[in-house]
């Protein structure tokens, strides 16, 4: 106890209370130096004004569009599944098959790439090769890959399948590699000490530790791939995106609303069931 009776006297007698400061300023949360805070705020303000001023808005066009916007909202609320059902059905089948096959392929390929990109189990040379595959796959947008694959393989879901598989590799291999790098070193040591081969090492020490997470991530990727499959159709890589693009181009907002509702529903379903499966696996 630092305190004694004379301290408590300060509290009781208000006359000496004036010795304490009457104001309190909250200490800054992130940036301690005041001048730096001011410089950053000023820069942000200048940028904001500049950025806003470079937006050119054609207000008459926007005003005309509001009517179309209202029609879209109405279309969304009263979706039309019937008149374009054949196109919607074909697009949906393409999207779903594309999603599933590309996820399976992507997962299968991401396992070797992921192991190769893990510093603690892969030889140096293979490590660099696999890391570059991951880096390339992650930094290129799905759309950009789709453009290239469509140029090479022609229009249709096959190009989309390749795009999504490639994107899946980057996503999963990176997370898998990080998982493997994080695994319990003592377990790999123990297996290594028995004189196990490299493959046995992977099978006994690595696989059991990362398997549940791999399953969870694969399901998550399935969900992402479905959402992406709705987009890459815009550049000709098949799927529901192409149908959606056409519907919007023709201002058929009720059909577009129907397609969007189907997409939302499937994503919700996928999220719900993947949560269920993940619980079951763990």
């Amino acid at each position: 106890m630092v305190n004694s009776a004379d301290d408590s006297g300060l509290l009781a007698g208000s006359k000496s209370g004036a010795a304490y400061p009457a104001t309190f300023k909250r200490p800054p949360m992130f940036i301690q130096r005041a001048w730096l805070r001011w410089v950053l705020w000023t820069l942000a303000l200048v940028w904001f004004v500049l950025a806003i001023s470079t937006i050119e808005v054609n207000w008459t066009r926007v005003a005309e569009g509001l009517d179309r916007g209202w029609r879209f909202v109405k279309g969304f609320l009263t979706p039309d599944f019937i008149s374009r059902w054949k196109d919607i059905y074909a697009g949906l089948v393409e999207s779903l098959t594309m999603t599933f096959t590309s996820t399976v392929t992507g997962v299968l390929l991401s396992v070797p790439v992921g192991i190769g990109a893990a510093r603690n189990v892969a030889p140096r040379f293979i490590y660099y090769v696999c890391r570059s595959i991951v880096a390339v796959s992650r930094s290129l947008q799905e759309i950009i890959i789709a453009i290239l694959f469509v140029a090479m393989f022609g229009f249709g879901p096959f190009a989309g399948y390749l795009t999504l598989s490639f994107a899946t590799i980057g996503f999963l291999a990176k997370l898998l590699a990080e998982d493997i790098e994080d695994i319990d070193e003592s377990q790999t040591e123990a297996i290594r000490a028995t004189g196990a081969s490299w493959l046995q090492l992977i099978n006994y020490a690595v696989q059991p530790q990362v398997m549940p997470r791999l399953i969870g991530l694969s399901l998550y990727r399935l969900d992402i791939n479905f959402r992406e499959s709705a987009v890459i159709g815009i550049v000709g890589a098949g799927g529901i995106g192409a149908t959606l693009n056409t519907a919007i181009d023709r201002y058929e907002f009720d059909s577009a609303g129907a397609i969007l509702l189907i997409i939302i529903l499937i994503v919700m379903l996928a999220e719900y069931s993947s949560g269920f499966v993940r619980k079951w696996v763990q």
């Binding site: 950025a51 050119e56 950009i144 879901p157 096959f158 399948y161 530790q209 939302i264």
Partner: protein
Amino acid sequence: MNNEATPLWQHRSNRMRLLLWVGWLILVALFLFCWQVMTRDTIWAFVSDAPRQAADLGGRMFPPRWSYIEKLWIPLWDTLNIATLGTLLGILFAIPVAFLAASNTTPSRLFVRPVALFIIVASRSINSLIWALLLVSIIGPGLLAGIVAIGLRSIGFVAKLLYEAIEETDVMQIEAVTATGASRAQILNYAIVPQILPAFYGISVFRWDINIRESTILGLVGAGGIGVQLQASLNTLAWPQVTMIFVVILGTVVVSEWVSARVRHAII
């Protein structure tokens, strides 16, 4: 995974093993079926021709047209603005949605929460490119459509992660502030906001990083930014320009990822 679970994984009961095999079988069968359906209309001649096409494309794409970069600075500036203003717009709407969706702050679990959750899932399911497609057809091509598209897509992402953070706040701290006689707004300000603030900044910067990536291609459907140049170059088959644009996009993405990682590291 803990050590005890390891033997469980390998020594399954017979029934378990059978179930596992059936599972794998169904997976393979489903894959083959989907493959069949998907490739029904594929023209295999094009596919087998692909290596030649790729070589041809590669030949036309290289070397990139370096001088084209002078025409890319302004679209790049636009792209960064779309991403940043779009992120700000998204955050602005995501904050109330997150508080309405979190089960410990929502005014009504029965009516308000489901609506907020639906807004989140709708925003998340629809890619920003689709939002852009819609907005271009509604308000016309340009930066505004891009900003609103990025904003609409960001609402769901930010609100979902934020409401999860709100639900994970420490109940004791909230109880303590409540016990002082604080009003609901004061409890929010003193007990909940300080707890979620670091998560909030992290989520925002993370989404900004993703938005930079997404805004580079919005121009493909006319929503402004560097994608407009990409679309124009693709239409005229000016492949060296396309390569140059890819290089610029790649550089931007790498830099934004670095910035986002640094900022998140500094906050958390």
